[in-house]
Symmetry: C2
Subunit: 139 residues, 2 copies
Amino acid sequence: MEDSERRSACAVSMALEAVGDKWSLLILRDLMFSEKRTYGELQNSEEKIATNILASRLVNLESNGLIRKETDPADSRRNLYFLTCKGIELLPVIVELMQWMAKYNPEASACIEQSKEYKKDRVSLYSSLIKKLNKNHLK
Amino acid sequence: MEDSERRSACAVSMALEAVGDKWSLLILRDLMFSEKRTYGELQNSEEKIATNILASRLVNLESNGLIRKETDPADSRRNLYFLTCKGIELLPVIVELMQWMAKYNPEASACIEQSKEYKKDRVSLYSSLIKKLNKNHLK
DNA sequence: AACTATTACTTTCATATTGCAAGTTAAATT
DNA sequence: AATTTAACTTGCAATATGAAAGTAATAGTT
């Protein structure tokens, strides 16, 4: 994003310009917490994102360097989407949002268990999750 | 929000339905990291939110229980906006977004210093900031 | 080789949201 | 009493979103 079209240089504002919409973080959630890797799989998420919006978000996420697209070696019709390091490092944001909602609305279901691990030490939870993602997503 | 208009019961999705737009978290940022408390002050933030959008976001935030509105005892034209406990507990989300952007874009300025404190221990940083906010915002 | 199915989009169009600018209301100040 | 200030509200144009149908390329089937 160019300086000129930026609202400000505030890090929070800039972050929101990248992922501050109702879908981008949900796509990242799927890449983080499920085995979904293809367009079709992402489209079939519970929330039923419209196909044109999914396409546009994937382009944004890729051009912001949060995901990487690769042709499936087993079927060249298919593309596989992977998180980059930069994308993986949004995991704490997603986990914090999840824990926050789970705390304030009992109907909200968290992708990861509200384990003792979390209550003990959030940061080591982040690290262990990030480690796993690095293994599955990075080249 | 009613079950019927919910995309899903996923905590991440529900959280994004509450604050997943380009402005809500920015308003919370101002309440957290500046002394801004009135409509006019919030409107004059660097990002220049449109007045009707600010009004609508304040209504949303209040009806979601993230902020609380009070008439200024010193001037009854003025309203003061304060964070609730629920609002304050979004601080980790905002801090993580901020740190993430600051890491990946050197032009991004963080509201709080990228201090040794953060590098040492994020969680104790959260606690100390939350403590301060509790003091200034809660009744 | 021809046909069908599948995958990843793109296009179209109706609806909803955003943003700018100007207007309103009530209370404080002069 | 007149003016100013603060917090909105309203109207309207521009942009973004969402539903549905369409397209292009490759894979699988006959």
